[in-house]
Symmetry: C2
Subunit: 275 residues, 2 copies
Amino acid sequence: MAEAFKKRMADAISAKGPLCAGVDPSPKLLSLWGLADDAKGLAAFSSRCVEAFADVAAALKANVAFFERFGSAGITALEYFLGEARDAGVLVIADAKRGDISSTNAAYADAWLRDGPLASDALTVVPYLGIGGLAPFVDAAAESGRGVFVVIRSSNPEGRTVQSAIASSGDTLEAELLRELEDPRYRGCLGAVIGVTKDAEPIELPSSGFFLAPGLGAQGASTEDLTALFSNVPATSVLVNLSRSLLESGPDPSSLREAARHAASDLSGAFCPPS
Amino acid sequence: MAEAFKKRMADAISAKGPLCAGVDPSPKLLSLWGLADDAKGLAAFSSRCVEAFADVAAALKANVAFFERFGSAGITALEYFLGEARDAGVLVIADAKRGDISSTNAAYADAWLRDGPLASDALTVVPYLGIGGLAPFVDAAAESGRGVFVVIRSSNPEGRTVQSAIASSGDTLEAELLRELEDPRYRGCLGAVIGVTKDAEPIELPSSGFFLAPGLGAQGASTEDLTALFSNVPATSVLVNLSRSLLESGPDPSSLREAARHAASDLSGAFCPPS
């Protein structure tokens, strides 16, 4: 059995701090970087992200939608990026928000969490069709030391209708799903996406879990919001994503790296306040 | 403005009945059909589906996960299939279950609902991050007469924890989300996936909506379950999906076509009982 993803993630955070650098080649950012809005532009963009962020960030997170825009040519660019990230020795998360019934999830797990052109260290998934149906992702992840981040609380306000609904246990849906994630079968390979928002409702996070936290920077939450939300879990169990606020300092690689270094240092301070 | 997807779907159902034929090139079915479990196998499989089903089914539904298994090569096979289906004049649904925050949904909408290599007549999406964030899908769909099916009730039992949770309105989440879909801005382009299951809880469906119904055949629900669930909506507003139960009659094209013709006739009978 491979080392569990949770441990691999904690090692990366111990070495480089909690920053997860987003790779979001949106039309707007491609233009800002002077790149064409096509598959070649994607490849150049994501290659520069590896160069700038691999040494400074614990993980890179590719927003798959921006690659999918160009169909198979875009997916080829994504495959190229995944290879470069692997070679650079940085963890890479495919932010694809997949999720379907169990038999279909087995195919998505083959795609993203087993050896192949899209193999990633971790994948984001959504639980609208239930946690039980995610078993094929868990099986694939556990075998290879890969991880799965289940979106429990998203960073956008529109998500509250669903995520704060009341489950049959009497708890909110997000609390209920978090509890389901604590099943020992999932330990070390099934983590949670917990979005950070301004003045968010508190949420009780399992201390044995691991987390991906979007919402800072361009999305409006602050490091104080972050610290409040994750005050009860170990610092090495939280990856903090920044995308636009880093990427807008491009295209110059040294400016990108400087922005990432600065962010990583701020975030490390947020989790480990000076004594 | 293009003709709304709901109207295009109703026309197809009037002409050919309510059958939506699934294109699910799973490892098991590829093997049953004597095809290799690779991108070439996918292309041969899906090409045969177009040949067998285009004249008999109102729509074809490609399960994107099975194409994604092979990365860019699989997506190339999917593009090829989409082109063949377009040429054959049959509606095609990309069953991809996409869904993220609004800015990312704009990229998925570009990929699947605007002209490009993956352009499809309709796309399935999941609402875990809220209905409001789906606006970019609606914009793209409305412009081009394409459609979006939001998964409201899935056909798997594991989905109940989420889908039957209680929203702040006091209704179940699925009832609340269905109500949100009735917004006039969404009319004609935003429909719902309503899975059919044995002994399902009743659900009040908006008579102005349009629906995709999985769950029959291999998944265990009967035509009686289907008829009971959709008794209050027009017959031309429901596409009924069958995947495995059709595809297991392959690989012979005439057997596949015969199975589809038989199913289409049964389903037409279910919605329009003889007087």
